[in-house]
Point group: C2
Chain length 353, copies 2
């Protein structure tokens, strides 16, 4: 007689399981919206085209990996609860994530998102503001109205995160007007703080909410939230690398796109914080203030790399991934769920490289 051995789930399998668990509740929530913001939300989730026609193909939920919802479900399981208990938190987090994409695209003037028009570009700025507000309101209501006995603590967690998100976005927007070098330049430490708020906070919230809704002790929830924040910062560092060296066929953006737009990302800031000849040449190239052409962007990318910006960003991503892993061993957690989270970590960060 042989004992059947189950192979450990792969990252795509884990993400798919969590998406399938969360999707019905997410659909119900979006259907409660006013039809107009609901259409914009469905477009943004990749469920429909502009105008509301369903997207044919591999099926709903195929756009975006659903990292945040997966983290919520898995952290509930890691804390000894059931993923089902945390679905309401996963829904709230996905709604807030989408809210932030809609409003950030307006503020940043980004015309595309996931290789389609951004919502403001497709529907207009005013309607996109409205749809973001509607998603925000729905997220808060979904969590506040939940019958989970821990929903009060969950709302407090979400509310604190919302303030962090706004703070991070405010800093990011203000960075644009700062000089490339000198006393007013953005330091690597300031950039880390911004990324911690802008990207780390929501992944931390996703993880923390899972634990909170599963009734985990505060210490466990704090540790899982910290793991989520580290993952978020690693995520942001990888995004910054992709914004310069990502494959245009995969990212949907032109090569060196962040450099062309003179965006202050970690690789550039790290490069400029060195006192190297490459850093000085890079400042001279960037300080003109006009967007770079093909040759200029290629040269800037070379100088960022030469001044160590690429390596510093990779090291930053690895450091935060290691910290996320360390968090997961610092408190007692359910081994199977921790195994799933550990399977996801490299998959999420090594994406598209």
């Amino acid at each position: 007689m042989t004992v059947p051995v189950t192979a450990p789930a792969t990252a795509p399998q884990i993400l798919a399981r969590c998406r399938e668990l969360v999707r019905p509740a997410l659909t119900v929530a979006v259907e409660r919206m006013h039809p107009w913001p609901a259409e914009m939300a469905a477009f943004s989730f990749g469920w429909s085209e502009v105008g509301g026609a369903p997207v044919p193909g591999p099926g709903p939920g195929s756009r975006g990996k659903g990292v945040r919802q997966a983290l919520t479900v898995l952290c509930a399981e890691a804390a000894g609860g059931r993923g089902e208990d945390a679905v309401v938190g996963a829904v709230a987090v996905e709604l807030i994530h989408t809210f932030s994409l809609l409003h950030d695209d307006i503020m940043d003037g980004d015309e595309t998102r996931r290789q389609r028009a951004s919502v403001w570009k497709a529907y207009g700025t005013g309607p996109a503001v409205l749809a973001g507000d509607a998603l925000f309101a729905l997220a808060v209501e979904t969590l506040a109205a939940s019958r989970n006995v821990h929903s009060g603590a969950a709302v407090r967690h979400l509310a604190a995160t919302l303030n962090d998100l706004v703070r991070g976005q405010a800093d990011d927007l203000l960075f644009e007007a700062r000089p490339w070098r000198g006393p007013g330049a953005v330091s690597p430490q300031e950039y880390r703080s911004m990324a911690g708020h802008k990207t780390g906070a929501l992944l931390g919230c996703a993880a923390g909410l899972g634990a909170v809704l599963a009734g985990a002790p505060a210490a466990t929830a704090d540790v899982l939230a910290a793991a989520g924040r580290h993952l978020g910062v690693a995520f942001q560092a990888v995004d910054d690398l992709l914004g310069i060296w990502g494959d245009p066929r995969v990212t949907g953006k032109p090569v060196h796109s962040d450099l062309r737009r003179l965006k202050k990302t970690y690789p550039v800031i790290a490069a400029l914080s060195t006192d190297s000849p490459a850093a000085r040449q890079l400042v001279a190239l960037l300080a003109s203030g006009s967007p770079l052409d093909d040759a200029g962007a290629r040269r800037a990318a070379g100088l960022v790399e030469e001044a160590g910006g690429r390596d510093a960003t990779l090291a930053e991503a690895r450091r935060h991934l290691d910290s996320a892993r360390a968090c997961l061993t610092s408190v007692p957690l359910a081994p199977a769920a921790v195994g799933d989270i550990l399977t996801l970590l490299p998959f999420l960060v090594d994406r598209r490289m």
Copy 2:
């Protein structure tokens, strides 16, 4: 020996008392924001000029009457509690009110607000989106983090209101594209529903939060919330009258401004819902789709009045004021606070007429 007789407080005295009670906590909340959205919030509250310089003159809180915060404080007192207990709710409601002004001005393209530039006009659209988001997040956090034992119920109340607000704004924006007459025209009933969400919901929330935070029974909180909603709809009807017949020196807007902009307000919708010669002439005038000039707007105002739109709107305002008063006698409440609310009602609705 004579017993000193205290004259009942006047409406301005009542409003000032409530503003003074709420202002310290509102200031503390705004100071917790990131400095950039905090500056935009202070500008919007009328505390500072663009750039952050304090506004000289009659002092902080002088812009806007603070109707919503007063309603929260007075309803806490009416429910037998202390105004102090409801301050956190008053703060949340004022923050949400300001959030909605900021975002609505973007969506409606309104360049002025209270005779100054609107926030998006003064600071840019992206920053105004951010400031609105920051106020929204701060409102939720303020209430969720409060130590008031009823804060959970208060957050649920606020969250439901936020969804109503967005729903009302969505309807209002969609009304713009509807025809003036025929099967697709906006009916008076649809307009009432929109106003109930867009304006009634937040005043209802202001009143209900006061009762909830004072620990009132659900029936009392529901009645006070209903009174607030009626006041809000009356308020909106008066706003619509002022948008056509208000004194430009008081409203800060050109005479007939809503007609010039072809805005679908209650007086016009009520006028067009009649089968009168004036209504038919009014449609002909409005249906061209281009903004009206002086003569056109004057003529349209005359036709709205002739078709009964002005009287219908006044009647609508009076009906809702009466309903608000009726609510206040339907459950046992503290007489002194009810007296203050009854003093405020006509003052709030008869403003600037």
